[in-house]
Symmetry: C2
Amino acid sequence: MCQLHNFRPKRDPCSAANINEITVEHTAIKWTVSFQLKMIIGQATLRCRCLTDATKLVLDVRDLSIRSVSINGVDCDFRIAPNVYTFFGSKMSVYLPPQFQKAGTILQVTVAYGTSPDATALQWMKKEQTADKRMPYLFSQCQAIHARSIVPCMDTPSVKSTYEAEVTVPTGMTCLMSAIGQGSKGDDDTTTFFYKQPVAIPSYLIAIVVGCLEKRDISDRCAVWAEPSVVDKAHWEFAETEDILASAEEIAGKYIWGRYDMVCLPPSFPFGGMENPCLTFLTPTLIAGDRSLVSVIAHEIAHSWSGNLVTNSSWEHFWLNEGFTMFIERKICGRLVSEDYRQFMAFNGWTNSLIPAVYEQFTPTHQFTKLIQDHTNVDPDVAFSCVPYEKGSALLFYLEQKLGGSEIFEAYLKDYLKTFAHQAIDSWQWKDHLYKYFADQKEVLDTVNFDLWFNGVGMPPEKPNYGQSMVEACEVLLKKWLAADESTVGDITSEDYYAMQPLQQIELLSQLWQHDPPIEHYKLDALNKLYKLNDSQNSELLLNWLRLCIKSKWEECIPKALDFVNSQGRLKFCRPIYRDLAQWPIANKKARDVYLKGRSQMHPITAEMIAKDLHIRHSTHTVCF
Amino acid sequence: MCQLHNFRPKRDPCSAANINEITVEHTAIKWTVSFQLKMIIGQATLRCRCLTDATKLVLDVRDLSIRSVSINGVDCDFRIAPNVYTFFGSKMSVYLPPQFQKAGTILQVTVAYGTSPDATALQWMKKEQTADKRMPYLFSQCQAIHARSIVPCMDTPSVKSTYEAEVTVPTGMTCLMSAIGQGSKGDDDTTTFFYKQPVAIPSYLIAIVVGCLEKRDISDRCAVWAEPSVVDKAHWEFAETEDILASAEEIAGKYIWGRYDMVCLPPSFPFGGMENPCLTFLTPTLIAGDRSLVSVIAHEIAHSWSGNLVTNSSWEHFWLNEGFTMFIERKICGRLVSEDYRQFMAFNGWTNSLIPAVYEQFTPTHQFTKLIQDHTNVDPDVAFSCVPYEKGSALLFYLEQKLGGSEIFEAYLKDYLKTFAHQAIDSWQWKDHLYKYFADQKEVLDTVNFDLWFNGVGMPPEKPNYGQSMVEACEVLLKKWLAADESTVGDITSEDYYAMQPLQQIELLSQLWQHDPPIEHYKLDALNKLYKLNDSQNSELLLNWLRLCIKSKWEECIPKALDFVNSQGRLKFCRPIYRDLAQWPIANKKARDVYLKGRSQMHPITAEMIAKDLHIRHSTHTVCF
Ligand SMILES: [Zn+2]
Ligand SMILES: [Zn+2]
């Protein structure tokens, strides 16, 4: 009775899997990696539990070549049906023999298959594309719905499975996965690496890197991997990882994943970081030389709880992953730097991330500006933006202030993470728990317009109060620059700028960029000369500086901007710059040329999204490879 | 009305294809060959014609990894269902969108796929396994039902399709196919070869070889290919090919295939030859150094009419391919040598092939001794034997004598080949035509018990009269050997033996082998010393010599016998020797050891059949490769 009462069917419009009939509990992978064919060949055995008297198992696949499917060792019928939208891949139905069509049955379903060279989860790099040019390189990015292009699975965050893997790669190369290493063995030709992930995780957290990789230890449980020429720089840049992890544990509870290793990927990695369990993936653009960008580490570490332990049940509730993670990230930085800094970070997120996303990337009436989204027939990569990160984080920041401040809210946060650990939940489950936890503050909660926060488009219905102490320095300096004219601009000196935190410098540039009319060219020239902006190794700062220049149509910046988008593939940097350049007639063709030239070396996700931004309709892949 | 009257549904129990609803008219192949993964990756586009308002296209596949299926460029649903018997592979159903479900519709069905490293049609050889040890080697053997392991197809001889192919291989290697070459292009890494087969052929005649290959021209339309160290020997051995082809044309009509090339394969090729159109595959065991085995060339050339032009509609009527081909082969040899020789060859086939097949390989009540067989749930490789060759050939030899001799029967033969050219027929269509052609000899035909010839087990109901002139020399010599004792055996001299044709020498050894009690060891020793039998380069002769020794349990021969089966993989030689050794307790373990040791380097068909003969149950392949 009680169980029936609790049962609510899971929903994930981005998956065809029959998750309410069968679930996957464990996945055993055997892969051989062929750099020549750009294929992973092998098999996956899914231990499935029938929840009902199901007649078939439905899995997500995308561009997989399926050789055979067996259940408990016996070959069986299967059917592949392409989805209407190609970005969902195909639906693979495995027909269960009658004796298995019974709730409670455990099935070992083995799929022998190969991936496509166009597998959207994978980037295959020739050795010439790597830092050291010694060996080819492979890395995966499964979030949101790309796991299905490397493994047949229930490709929804609402299904969690433990996994193990045996991966055979050419000898000399290292294979890393989002799991705990169990050693390797091999001969002169090939080496097989063994991994186990004993914590049940959603499919999007399966991850693999293969390359010429070296390791540097940071602490007993933390290390960083990178190509030999990069590894020492990365080791220095991320040396504070153990401290960040310890801070995170204070806030969120014990770290349960065993190891927290990081791998610094090639520049084409599309994200700042990806929270693959036991092995965070990081963009090399974080290596600023001054540890100024380690908040990304705090972010990925925070995902060890929000996202990896308490998981959104579908990408429609992505804010549960990212809003919470932004909130915890800033909590960590608050502890490591100061509460003022946390306030400033949150303010910065509102002004420099959320506002541009709502007004610029979308429009304030666009459905993707909603906190809870409807992903029916929607490619989550297209819906992806800062909105779930910053609108979600703003909601929590707002609630913290409403419900009694930091201490009270941190206790709530711990309870929330503990309550839903190892589960996948939606926004309503989150809200139910919030009401239950703050039962004594029901009247306060009732004053929050959750309907507008959840379902309203545009900016949130309320703006939290952000401590302004660190913003003030930015505004003082901003006024100096705005007040200067051609004859006085030379009087501005650099001390106050260099006294600021990098994030404050970025805020200054962002405010200059937001100013109308656009900043005059002579001022841009003066800014560049005074602050050596073009030479900055801080890519976040460069992004803001280049956008400022482009807005002012300062032609001098075009080569630098093209160089910037060409030298790395992080979506956060490439999409705005490409979009800015595309809207500037004089730069549009150059941007398209750079894109088309670099495209074959780009990550498939990046290539696809920039193509959309540049209105380049790319030809269908020919299937012969 | 007339059409309806003529329509009889095609039957092929070895194919799951819906051949009575849809047919394949053209097959366009694009393949990339990976020696590293032992896979062919690519696609096949089948131009299909709907014969009825079919809702699906059903194709045969075996161990293929299917990536996608499209019809006229649009991805569509498909289903793979394994057959009950794994040797039939699986049934691939492609669901036709409603607008295509109409008789007369032409569909372009593209299947993107990869083969399995265990594809039964393919043998992948490491360079160490080749004669020159310079490059790896790949060759195919699709007959009877292995084409489905390299291309999704209607894998039945009753469906004929033209084909074209683009095959990409590592640069430096040559790709040959059963088609007319259209040149090649490539770069430092890979070279693509283009082929076209403009004559519609059944799937079992699709063939590929990739290796380090050189060519030697024999005539304007004939050449031989082989590895560099073998090609000149092969060129000498097969120099008479153009003459044989010209003789064949006199008997069977114009040669329509353009080129008649041959490729001399590595020793593991399981057959004497395979009549792949435009490119006969040959075993290197034919290179005897004395052109004594070129009747195999005559056989393969004869298939250019019987088999490749007039084709058995299923393997149940295999005698239409092989009985006719043996008959024409002997006609050719009769013209090139003498009519006496043809008579002797036919006699030899009866006594040394058909009798052992009926009494030794099977039993006289075994269903596989029938001319027309029932292959429901039967693996044609298991049913394969000399029976359709020799019982079929004997029927034609018998009919020739009954119906008025050589001249009359050759005119009939030409008419038969012309009537059914480009078709696939069964035994009843053959018989209908025979009655029609010999309408004036109906009474004679009515005295032939066709029911017993077609459906009777054991030896045929009638034995043809074989001219005995060439047998007599063998019998004289046989008597000498049988009459000799330990004191007189040294008096036998070698002139009469060396005066005989190789086939007569073989006949002598065969008769000695058939003799009971078995020949004494001292006689075997004397035979060997006098005729240098152990040193013979003629593998047919070696086969008979070794069987004779084994029957006498002459232990000295065991190393030679093991060496013989280990040095080549021709089924005709390996199966009897392995079977003989297996039945001899002292040799059984050694035979099994040699098999198990050599197995990984054997052709998959050979490995499978010898395992059955040796009663070695081989473990299921693990699917992870
Ligand atoms: Zn995140
Ligand atoms: Zn033949």
